[in-house]
Amino acid sequence: MDILQNIGFGFSIAFTWQNLICCFLGVLVGTLIGVLPGIGPSATMCLLLPSTYYLTPTSAIIMLAGVFYGAMYGGSTTSILVNIPGEAASVVTCLDGYQMARQGRAGPALGIAAFGSFIGGTLTVVGLMIAAPPLAKFALRFGPPEYFSLIFLSFSILTYLASGSILKAIMMAAAGAFLGSIGADFITGDLRFTYGSLTLFDGVGLIPVIMGLFGIAEVLENIEKKVEKREIINTKFRRLFPTLQDWRDSLASISRGTLIGFFLGILPGGGTIISSFASYGVEKRVSKHPELFGRGAIQGVAGPETANNAATSANFIPLMTLGIPANVVMAIILGALMIHGIRPGPMLIREQPELFWGVVTSMYIGNAMLLVLNLPLIGIWVHILSIPYRILFPLILLFCLIGVYSLNNNIWEIIIMIVFGVIGYLMRKFKYEAAPFIFALVLSPIMENAFRQSLLMSEGSFSIFFTHPISCALLITGFVLLSTQALPWFKRKPFVDEF
């Protein structure tokens, strides 16, 4: 009964005009940036942060969440029609979605992607409603040693699931953690690595770093190549509804995608990209005809698209219950909450019920809006795809400049953004992932605080991390994950050419 009352309460919040408009704007902008290659949800959410100053915290998070799951919907359009993923979580959709489009089945591919996303997104919201309150109660038992161990586990998961080199992922996590320690020490008040800069007193800002790594670096990477004309599959969009056979083929994939997205989305360190890749791998493995994958198998579209949307809702669970962001996008939402003076954690659901239940129920509404936006209006999104990049990139750069400058009217934050733009570009070239870097930047102050408080509590004994049962279990899991990564190093592999 409690949950039904809470859902009713949530809908009463989500159905106010302001929240409906914010939800619509969020999913609209999300779909737009999902369709457009060259700008992802992270950079877009940073750009929208200034506009949230004038909103209530609930409206702000409803809008930002809409951008996130809207981008997942929009990302499939470019993957299917142009063979260019609109954002990273739709990379695998290119493999079979584009092949379906080439075979004249763009409509069913887009249709099953949208329906799968809707089913995955809404079912996971149910999971979020059921799982979050008990998890928040459980998290009340967490003290500094548990938080330290949980963040250690998050780093282990992140490096375990890294798409590239594990060593490089660990290096990026260490570099990000160091960056997070810049500024005034919260215990002694000493200034660390500021070298007299007033801008660095409060630490390196998250927003300029994200804008640099994801906005400026993306533009630099795109601009270095000579622009090739995109080939958009010319197809009629009359038959967007998948056939009965398509549904029969996809239903199990959608169910598996929902489960994979939910469970990988809950893990701090997991996310939409990993979910979609894992779902594709599972679909190929369980299929009776794995040889059809890469040649237009509808399961290769239905599974990953469902999984990445399911993960977006599940990502909110660690943030709302433990105060730990699961990925970069959640870190930005954490930043937005903190701008409004709200610190998410175990007490959030009790102290800010309108925020939690309002945001959660708005996801149902947002997913329904997206279904309408993505199917009947697909023709409009296809036209948007034909906007040349030479018109888009000045706008992306300008919004990055304005977004960062408007935070504190401080030109040095623009300089930080430019520096991290160049660093981000080089990281992309040298195959260093930005996700562990940002993740560590956000979590390292919490981790350091928990680490030092634990040592103060135990008078310098590391045993505190092992005598607390939850902390011990989390640490051991983290070490096991890291050691399973180290085992394959004993098998030597020669360098493999990338081209």
Binding site: D190, L220, I223, K226, N409, I418, K429, W489
Partner: protein, 151 residues
């Protein structure tokens, strides 16, 4: 050949050494009373040790190498122009004011880097600047500098 990987790992090992030196200078305290340098020192040590392992692996040709970073088609001019123009924007915004620098900067980016025609450049720059004024200054109430011209 893992030349690029060697270069990048050496760079990070160098960064790690600098972090460790500075962290020790800050004071690492003791385990019962950790100092401000303890956590950064840990980060530096992890970065350095893992960097050295990665460097060692490149010497033994283990793992996957990064190759072909840049070629003759890489448009260095455009990239450097963008970075310099962003820096100029940052340093001049307080002096010239938001609207003037945005108009001029957009003009440069559209014409100089985007290779748009003059008419398109002027149209895009004026419309974008006006749109930014309406959205950010008028609607969102963000105060941008007016500069010495009061624009």
């Amino acid at each position: 050949m893992a030349r690029y990987d060697r270069m990048s790992t050496i760079f990070w090992v160098g960064v790690a050494m600098a972090i460790c030196v500075e962290s020790i200078r800050l004071g690492i305290g003791s385990l019962s009373n950790p100092g401000p340098g303890l956590f950064p020192l840990g980060c530096g040590l992890v970065l350095g040790i893992v960097g050295l392992i990665a460097f060692g692996r490149t010497l033994k040709n283990i793992g996957e190498a990064v190759r072909g970073l840049w070629n003759s088609e890489t448009q260095w001019g455009k990239m450097i122009s963008i970075i310099v123009s962003l820096l100029v924007y940052a340093f001049l915004i307080d002096l010239t004011g938001f609207r003037l620098i945005t108009l001029v900067w957009m003009g440069f980016i559209c014409r100089g880097i985007g290779r748009m025609g003059w008419k398109t450049t002027i149209f895009t720059s004026v419309i974008t600047t006006f749109f930014c004024y309406i959205l950010f200054e008028h609607y969102l109430g963000i105060r941008f500098p007016r500069g010495i011209f009061g624009l």
